[in-house]
Amino acid sequence: MRLRPQTVKQWRRFRSIRRGYWSLLIIGALLALTLVAELLVNSRAIVVRYDGSYYFPTYSAFMPGRQFGLDYDYETNYRELAAHFAEQREAAEASGTEAPGNWLILPPVPYNPFETDFRDDAFPPYPPSLSTQHYLGTDVAGRDILARLVYGFRLAMAFAVLLLLCNYVVGIAVGCAMGFWGGAFDLIFQRLIEIWSNVPFLYVIMIVASVIVPNFWTLIGIMVVFGWMAMTWYMRTSTYKEKAREYVDAARALGASSPRIVFRHILPNTISIIVTFIPFSVATGVTALTALDYLGFGLPPPTPSWGELLAQGTANLQSPWIVTSVVVAMTLVLLMVAYVGEAIREAFDPKQFTFYT
């Protein structure tokens, strides 16, 4: 594939801004890792060797304890299973017989974000500890904070990206149409958007949340309904601008249809505006979900969520590891997203490539 020279230039420019470039790499790596989070942060073992067979519980259907010689029908507790295998080996060593050769590999963080872990000698929240492998401690219900952070991050990013896609599809479509058609259509939509922007969307969410318990999709739905407007203004302006250019006239003279002009000619030339806004929209999406969860109007418990952790942390300041973990994680992610955004804006800055007379 050959990239347009302009794109190559922009990419070089972006790479030369080290802060943004590295942030992008780190965020990309984190996102890639969260795609396989089940292998890294999970209560299910990665691989179990039992009675001569291999099992890979991570992505398979649940395996009852009985499958591995334990005496229950519910989901195997693999940490207990590990201890059980160790006992088997010790017993075999002590009696001089051959060990059954059972073993398993647990993920580095052997907890899922939902399970409650209790100790006999103390009550949660437990402080960070290497020996219990709660590297960031637990929350008030005894759930591993690192696990909740990781899965919460994945959910928040997925939420932000989906929200962004939906918002942009609607926003760009409406904005382009306003700019391209202009006239009464533009005027009516401008007024409609002005009115719609004034609906206090947080209230709407609160009202909806008091009637139904919102889930991932309803939340996205509500936020798109009240969030698509932002993009329209930029798209409208740039479409107006591009429409007046000679190449559009040329295309029209050649007999190109309106959709072709919009999709083939105008949109590609406004892409820099869209790309520039992406990181900031991601940050907005993450913050919005976190804020809603914090207020209790977001995803229902026990969904792992940063906002819920933040709420717990502020409610339990005497256990500072909760609030510290989530605040640090949130700050770092938002900071990196902002760096990426900054670098993209810099790289796409038209002043470097366009010469206006």
Partner: protein, 630 residues
């Protein structure tokens, strides 16, 4: 609805330019959303009632022998600051949405009854009635009213106000089937013998103490109400005058409600009402989060805060303010009916209609683990609905333990034999999943734990945390599957409202499990009709056994004590509370609390000054076991 209200003005604004029509003025009705404080509207139109002669030979009794339980050292005055988690949906005491948390204040203040139960001896003591007498038919009781009693607007409380209660409560305009029913089927007639003597006839003969308790009721302000089809809307935000010690003095919608003390209240010199309800003003602020409220409390902006929850008692109620004795802690054991906290299974739901599934669910709730881990052994397991009702509680009922084998057996019997790929049981593609609604964010960790444990039994519990008002609405309309809530208590078990099929078919009743069992109906009717206590006790035991067998209620925890924290200027008698105290620091007589606290302004000034200068007092943590049951 509110959403529409928000949109409407914006749309109007949008088509500005065209000239708006002049607003239509409607002079016949007031703005339904405006708050109207106590007002006497219909003093010229007071309904009056004819009197009938009093029968001869009545034996009037009263009781002024029992010890008072309020402290003679109590001082009137000051402002008591407390909070509520949500703003009430109405100021009415009956009708739709009137059963929220705020209603307890309204009831406490407006339903000073004819007689009350002494909180320590459990004997009856005079309130609005000075004397009472029983007819031989076993279902009629006569009351002699206290002539000095007045409404908070100054009008005297007379027999007509009690007569009016019946008309009022039976009216279809109040849209409240519970009260309609109670005042039609339980209380058959009220008669006026003269302006200060009434008699109440119940539907069925009962033991005397039950008659007094159950057929006793409060007056209704005739001068205030106008019953018509608009009553529910029209009176939604009107504060009624009441017979109690407080009146609502200010309502700031969504923010706070203040009560002010009726200064020359008739109860000031009545033996069992004196020295109670001491603060001159009470401000109930809406703070929608308990943890935020705690921070207000630690700053001294709230005077007291409950610390029953283990994390509050052990972890939050510590620090400088406690070490320096500015804030005190008290743990006070009581001997009283226990609120029935637990999971209420709605049998209208097709899954929960299945007896085996209800039994399986009961065995899937690992409440033992919850109590010993998260709740630190501070709470105890509740055994049943109506526990702690002294003789009436069936001593043989034990709650179902967490038992995966039994759960498996019952779920298998219901056809849920296999587990899906996520470990949740399935039957013909239907998952064994339930939504659990609850209204207290602080309870989330508890339900998270139960949820994870229930997964072991192959049950999925989907937690639904709701805003308090919406939560009550959903439950009373029987829209829930499983509701976590706690019913408050009464003197004797109330089976009819919770379990009779009459209340299963209609919404806005307390039969939130939609229990419809003919055998149970029969026993409940017998229980309601029984006259002697031994029979009632026997029937109560039988009914409780059936309810336990049906397993529509999964009891969770009980707390046979109250734990509270208070700034040291909030004072209590030297005996702190009473045998049946629910909340020590309660300014009114809500539930079984008795409004014993007072604010000592001198100590307040002293404490605030000491805090400013960093001077410490002795830390105070009180544990009182006077009323502890072994």
């Amino acid at each position: 609805m509110r959403k529409l209200a928000l949109l409407a003005p914006l749309l109007l604004f949008g088509c500005g330019g065209s000239e708006a029509p002049p607003p239509e003025t409607d002079t016949t009705t007031d703005d339904a959303d405006a708050v109207t404080l106590e007002e006497t509207r219909f003093v010229d139109l007071l309904p009056t009632y004819d009197s009938v002669p009093l029968p001869e030979g009545l034996e009037w009794v009263t009781n002024n022998e029992d010890e008072v339980f309020a402290s003679p050292e109590a001082k009137r005055g000051g402002t008591f600051n407390t909070y509520m988690l949500g703003f009430p949906l109405t100021l009415r005491m009956v009708g739709p949405d009137s059963n929220g948390g705020f209603a307890s204040y309204l009831r406490a203040n407006n339903s000073v009854g004819l007689v009350a139960i002494h909180p320590n001896t459990l004997n009856f003591i005079p309130m609005l009635a000075t004397h009472w007498a029983f007819a031989d038919d076993g279902k009629t009781v006569y009351y002699r009213l206290r002539p000095e009693a007045t409404w908070s607007d100054g009008l005297p409380i007379t027999a007509d106000d009690f007569m009016y209660t019946i008309d009022f409560m039976r009216s279809e305009h109040i849209v409240d089937p519970w009260y309609n029913n109670h005042y039609t089927n339980n209380i058959v007639a009220v008669r006026k013998h003269d302006d200060y003597t009434i008699s109440v006839e119940g539907s069925t003969p009962k033991p005397r103490e039950e008659i007094l308790y159950e057929y006793g009721f409060g007056p209704t302000p005739r001068q205030f109400h106008k019953l018509d089809e608009n009553w529910v809307v029209d009176y939604n935000w009107r504060a009624a005058p009441g017979p109690g010690p407080y009146r609502i003095s200010h309502v700031e919608k969504g923010q706070y409600v203040t009560f002010e003390r009726v200064d020359d209240w008739w109860g000031n010199d009545v033996k069992y009402l004196a020295n109670r309800f001491n603060p001159d003003e009470v401000r109930i602020t809406v703070i929608r989060d308990m943890n935020v409220a705690w921070e207000y409390f630690m700053r001294g902006e709230l005077d007291t805060h409950p610390v029953v929850m283990p994390n509050f008692w052990h972890e939050k109620a510590v620090g400088e303010e406690f070490d320096n004795g500015y804030i005190q802690k008290i743990k006070f054991y009581t001997d009283t009916p226990q609120p029935s906290a637990g999971f209420w299974l709605n049998q209208n739901d097709p899954l929960l209609a299945d007896h085996n599934i209800r039994l399986g669910l009961a065995h899937s709730m690992n409440i033992e683990r919850l109590l010993t881990t998260l709740l630190r052994g501070d709470y105890e397991r509740l055994k049943m609905h109506h526990e702690g009702y002294w003789d009436y509680t069936n001593p043989n009922i034990e709650p179902r333990p967490f038992d995966l084998d039994k759960a498996d057996e019952y779920f298998a019997a219901a056809g849920f034999t296999t587990r899906g790929p996520d470990g949740i049981r399935v039957r013909d593609g239907q998952r064994l999943a339930f939504s659990v609604v609850y209204g207290t964010q602080e309870h989330t960790p508890r339900f998270v734990l139960l949820r994870e444990e229930a997964r072991k039994a192959g049950v999925e519990l989907n937690l639904q945390l709701m805003d308090a008002s919406a939560y009550f609405k959903q439950i009373l309309e029987k829209q829930h599957q499983i509701a976590s809530m706690a019913w408050s208590t009464s003197l004797t078990p109330r089976f009819w409202e919770h379990y009779h099929s009459d209340n299963a078919k209609v919404t806005q009743t307390n039969n939130i499990t939609a229990t419809n069992n003919p055998e149970l109906d029969q026993l409940i009717t017998e229980y309601e009709d029984a006259t002697d206590k031994p029979t009632r006790v026997r029937l109560a035991h039988e009914i409780q056994q059936i309810i336990h067998d049906m397993s529509q209620f999964i009891p969770t925890w009980k707390v046979p004590y109250t734990r509270e924290a208070n700034w040291r200027w909030v004072r209590l008698p030297e005996w702190y509370g009473t045998r049946t105290t629910d909340v020590l620091f309660d300014f009114m007589s809500t539930a079984n609390s008795t409004g014993l606290l007072w604010i000592d302004e001198d100590i307040k000034a002293e404490t605030l000054a000491a805090r400013e200068e960093g001077v410490a007092f002795d830390p105070v943590t009180i544990t009182d076991e006077t009323w502890r049951l072994e």
